[in-house]
């Protein structure tokens, strides 16, 4: 079965995010003076074939730990949805 996975990679809390900080400093120039906590990360989408959603999520989780994210400075979340409705 095919599953779409959506991976979000962000800086670990406490790790400096210079891109987020720079954007946060730029927004007030446009009048948005009420914005805080801007964090910039990466979004990765991929399709995997796996027996079920749990297996797909476990495999993508492993990919994140081994390559897609650097656990020293980055956190990640994985969301998996079936690419096609299961057969009735």
């Amino acid at each position: 079965m095919k599953f779409h996975a959506q991976v979000e990679v962000t800086h670990l809390p406490g790790v400096l995010d210079p891109q987020g900080a720079t954007v946060e400093r730029a927004l007030p120039a446009l009048g948005y003076t009420n914005v805080h906590d801007v964090r910039i990360g990466k979004s990765i989408r991929l399709t995997v074939e796996a027996p079920d959603a749990v297996a797909a999520a476990a495999q993508v989780d492993e990919m994140c730990r081994r390559l897609l994210a650097n656990p020293v400075i980055e956190a990640f979340t994985v969301e998996v949805v079936a690419a096609e409705p299961a057969a009735p």
Partner: protein, 230 residues
């Protein structure tokens, strides 16, 4: 016999010839090693030079770690051979797990290209053996992602085990604890953001990089004589 240095070349590496030149000017021998090669036989030291290996896609150094040559670098390092990663090479060695921590984007998102003063913190690393602790060297930097970081436990360990090799006198990039260079526990694997090969002879301006490269060649020559590297 002069020490022989293997200089690893990935697609996107761009400082390999500078390293070869720096080594040869100081009396060593250097040969390029393609990233697809699987052996580092006959070398007394390995340098992973700067550039943009594999385009720095995903993260700096993230893809280079999977090149076939990196298994040979891992074996060489595990056998005690001196391995030095310069700039992008430092990033690659952290991604490969050969060095602790990570390099992230410079504080303030500034690309820094200038000569900076660095203080030698230890004389037990492959790159600083025989160099007096406290020596200040003027070294060129040229990077966007040289902001060293690690968790507090790792930083404590780096300090306790004398693994901080160089500190910036004035921090140019936001690096934790002003760190410009760290080593592994044994001291034979070293990563640094400054480019010693760009300051290896007087015609290039400050020649303080020669101090580090000379120390590396001496370390390499010593380990070659004792035959203790893979």
């Amino acid at each position: 016999m002069s020490a022989r240095v293997g200089v690893v070349v990935f697609p996107g590496t761009n400082c390999e010839h500078d390293v070869v030149r720096g080594v040869e000017v100081l009396g060593g021998r250097a040969d390029l090693v393609w990233h697809g090669d699987r052996a580092l036989d006959g070398f007394d030291a390995v340098v992973v030079p700067g550039g943009f290996a594999h385009g720095d896609y995903l993260r700096t150094g993230a893809i280079a770690r999977f090149s076939p040559v990196m298994e040979a670098v891992q074996r060489f390092a595990a056998a005690g051979g001196p391995v030095v990663g310069i700039c992008n090479g430092f990033q690659i060695l952290t991604e490969a797990g050969l060095l602790p921590g990570a390099l992230q984007k410079n504080a303030g998102l500034k690309f820094r290209c200038e000569t900076v003063a660095c203080r030698v913190v230890t004389d037990r690393s492959a790159l600083t053996r025989g160099v007096s602790t406290g020596t200040v060297l003027d070294l060129p930097i040229n990077h966007f992602e040289g902001n060293y970081t690690c968790d507090p436990e790792t930083l404590a360990r780096l300090r306790d085990l004398d693994q901080i090799v160089l500190r910036y006198v004035e921090n140019p990039n936001g690096s934790l604890d002003d760190i410009a260079s760290v080593s592994n526990e044994a001291g034979n694997v070293v990563g640094l953001m400054p480019h010693p090969e760009r300051a290896a002879e007087a015609i290039l301006g400050p020649a303080d990089g020669a101090v580090l490269l000379r120390a590396l060649l001496a370390t390499a020559g010593a380990s070659a004589r004792s035959g203790d590297n893979g």
